[in-house]
Amino acid sequence: MALQRPALARSGPTAGAPRRGSGLARDSRDVLFLLAVIAWTVMPHASRLPAWCLAMTAAALIWRGLLAWREGPLPSRPFLVFVLLLACGLTWWSHRTLLGQEAGVTMVVALTALKTLELRARRDAFVVFFLGFFLILTQFLYSQSLLTAVAMLVAVWGLLTALVLANLPVGRPALAQAAAAAARIAALGTPIMIVLFLLFPRLPPLWGQPEGALARTGLSGQMELGQVAEMALDDSIAMRVRFLGGERPRPSQLYFRGPVLSQFDGNIWRQGGDGPWLRQASGPQAPIRVQGRALDYELTLEPSRQKLLPLPEATVDTPEISGSVGTLELRQHELQWQTTQPITERLRVLGQAWLAYSQGPQLAHPALREFVELPAARNPRTLAWAMELRRRPDLAQADADTLSRWLLDHIRNQGFRYTLSPGTYGSDAIDEFWFQRRAGFCEHFAAAYVVLMRALDVPARVVTGYQGGELNPVDGYWVVRNSDAHAWAEYWQAGRGWVRVDPTSAVAPERIERGSRLRPPAGIVGGTLTVIDPDVGRQLRDIWDAVNNGWNQWVLNYSQGRQLEALRKLGLEGPDWTDVARALVIALTNLSLAAAVWAWWERRRFDPWLQAYARVRAVLERAGIDVPPHRPPLSLARQLRQQCGRAAWPLAEALERLDQMRYGADRAGRPRHPSRGERRRLLLAAHALVRALRARATVRQ
């Protein structure tokens, strides 16, 4: 046979060359997949982003997709730099800053989209992946619901899959294969995640967050007509309450007290300053008087980013709070719990509420004048009407209780209507409401009531908060949604102090009594469900709420308090965060040990036959006899007999037996594994041979 001279090195594509095989080239497919993952990640942001950013992102992704489809050239770098500067400029224009949360999110989205237009090298791909992980995190700034978590888990999976694809240079690996690999690795990483999640010390925020950068729906310190209507459309959950005793309050008894608004400038109701009331701390602030039995409750408050706790009326004693709120303080004259830090995490509150209580000075006090002030130039008809009312003989000497009853009767009988969409009101909103339109919701009623009471020279104020709630029979929690936001009123009656009155109940008692809300029209699915069986819809919602509550309780609510609680349950006394850190280190060490044991076990799991043979080979190789791994024992035996003569006979015979076990013609059915004794004899023979060879070498020298 003629020996072939080796051809000159075949030159060819090394890797990643586009292959036109089954439709789309591999690179194009990978890019399209990555674009889809990015689009999925950005999607939940869509409603929050400025329009230009959304348009730019969509354009960049679609353009990049088309380029991938047609395998066209990528845009030039100067062009990209130009677009990047444009994006920065527009961000500045939208947010007046390049830092901060919202501007940051806008920038990250724009950057990610633009970076896809520059996907050339592996390095670029990695930048996109890492930006993608940031994008996922930014979603959690807005929502940490179960749905968000699931959607973002899919996004993480997608990004990891794309990462695997980027590291498979050969051929055209199936998407499913890469996805399976990513899922397997993430699943194996989950125990590490759980340990770290449970034991990583929870620290307070490292530096201050810009307050109000992220306004969330919820209560605020002021009220402008129309604001609560927006909230009524927000069906998200504000808090969950469970009453621990057997006693269950009626929905109409559940008032969660938020900011008390006592200053009115004609448009906006604001919280009163800390003026006369705090300066005269010893003066009119008669202690809060409670009657009857207190209800123990457990309340889970969603983060509101505000410095107040809307607790059930009347929570008098300092509640027990797990979570960081700074210092908790009761504004006594308003019966309002305030914190020094905005609430940025879910709080678990254990407290006591007295349903029967009274508050405020018993006797008239000059400081109460603050609560009859009205802007003189506004709502002239209302003021005139009140003056006239005061002149009526039956009301001239009436006390506050009587006046209030009279006003409520007026509301009940004069064709007032409760609606969520009363339309906008002009500058003399109360006039317009009271005399012409007579349609509105709790805010309108509360505001008009307080203005009229003040016009009648009765101290009165608006109280905002939540009212009612819905009992979830699945887990016994009352669910209070942001759509339960409410405004009611308080007037001052000599001898009683502040008295709560809910003008809305005069026109829409079902709102208060049964907690039934005006609902925005349901979506198609919800609508269909309600048509088929209203109970099914309610049940589904209850189950969903229970699941969501479990999620909140066990995942989102997990805080330093819970961490320490868990350690306490493990028997540690008075644990602090160093104990948490120690527990973390111990757990991680154990995990690593488990991994080491697994690796060891994996080595042991080797085929015993192969293992026995490998050991013999290792012994021989240490002695300088090179044995290629593919050489079968029979051939090795022959080699040894030739090389080493008689000294090798015992080993050669043992090797022949080993060969026979696996490849022998007389074996019945399955290959046999060497027994423990056989393996030992094999090794001993190998060592004996090595010793013999060494002895021979010394003799020669």
Binding site: A9, F134, L163, A186, G189, F197
Partner: protein, 345 residues
């Protein structure tokens, strides 16, 4: 499954380093002792190395930023994301290492080449595990000789595959092969695991043949009288003889062989044109007055030329003489003699 690359590496012998006790030579010695030259390599914990890639470091930084953001905004889901990614990265480290661990490599005997050509190294990868190993990259050569591109391959469960690496051969002689590096970044590219293998096999590099070759006449007119008549052993009158090892295929008399195969079980070869062949001597002096390497090149070209015509030829080099012969084996012997003549090694 196999992959090919155009990687060109130099198989030139590294010049013997002066004995020294500096850090670098010591390190070199220690490193070489760690990786003795051998024909096969079994990868295990002891010879698979792993470090984060640059992307891995950046990923670590990303995790740190994610963690800081989670702390600052008190995002429990942010913690979960960070820890899930961190956990996955740790697992991916093990996966990367496992991608190499347990793999066995061996090298097929490399075929000789002429200087200036590329030698093809056939590296066989095999393993016994019931899992596939993906994205394994190999390259031959040291950093000193320029870095070649990786040749990538995948390995199916319990399978073996051959990867062809090419190594540029520049100088004639017998050279140790450059080290072969096996590397993987699968699955996430955050870690790269690698192993270094210094094959024990040596590569024979023949001198570069002169192109275009000088006419052989120069050799025939050499003063030593290159052509001699010589009877050849085992010749038969009818122009055929028993097949001998080394006879080219084209000399086999197939028709006759079909009969002899049936009777005696051997093939028969045709005798060359003339029954009495004149032997050609390729003389060192015939290539004068060229410098030695050029002479070797010319002689190499002549060897190929004579081999192609099927002539009988001998080779005389200073201090070495190969008696006349023909056939592939003879040619290989001649070429090896030319390659090794006063070899730099």
């Amino acid at each position: 499954m196999s992959a090919t690359t155009a990687a060109r590496q130099t198989a030139a012998a590294s010049a013997p380093k002066p004995e020294s006790n500096g850090i670098r030579p010591r390190w070199r010695r220690w490193w070489d002792a760690r990786h003795p030259r051998r024909d096969s390599l079994q990868l295990h914990h002891g010879n698979v190395y792993i470090l984060p890639t640059r992307a891995g470091w950046v990923f670590g930084l990303t995790l740190l930023v994610l963690l800081l953001a989670s702390i600052n905004f008190q995002l429990n889901l942010g913690y979960m994301l960070t820890f899930l990614l961190g956990g996955s990265a740790v697992v991916s480290m093990h996966v990367t290492h496992r991608n190499l661990r347990g793999l066995a490599l061996h090298l097929r005997e490399p075929q000789p080449v002429h200087a200036g050509e590329s030698a093809l190294l056939d590296v066989v990868l095999d393993h016994q595990e019931a899992r596939s190993r993906l994205a394994l990259g190999l390259r031959a050569g040291d950093a000193a000789h320029g870095v070649a591109d990786w040749t990538w391959c995948d390995l199916a469960p319990q399978a073996s595959t051959t990867v062809h690496l090419s190594v540029a051969a520049e100088q004639r002689g017998r050279h140790p092969l450059p080290r072969i590096v096996l590397h993987t970044r699968y699955p996430f590219g955050l870690f790269h695991a690698w192993s270094v293998w210094r094959p024990a096999a040596q590569l024979l590099v023949w001198p570069q043949p002169e192109a275009p070759p000088a006419p052989l006449a120069a050799a025939a007119e050499s003063p030593a009288g290159s052509h001699q008549a010589r009877p050849r052993p085992g010749e038969e009158v009818d122009g055929v003889r028993d097949w001998r090892r080394g006879d080219p295929l084209r000399l086999i008399a197939w028709k006759k062989s079909s009969r002899t195969l049936a009777s005696t079980g051997t093939l028969v070869s045709r005798e060359r044109e003339s029954r009495v062949q004149r032997d050609t001597w390729l003389e060192w002096s015939a290539a004068a007055p060229l410098p030695p390497e050029a002479r070797l090149s010319r002689l190499t070209a002549w060897v190929w030329m004579l081999d192609r015509t099927g002539a009988t030829y001998g080779l005389r080099l200073p201090g070495q003489e190969l008696p006349p012969g023909s056939g592939d084996l003879h040619r290989l012997r001649c070429l090896e003699a030319l390659a090794m003549w006063q070899s730099p090694r």
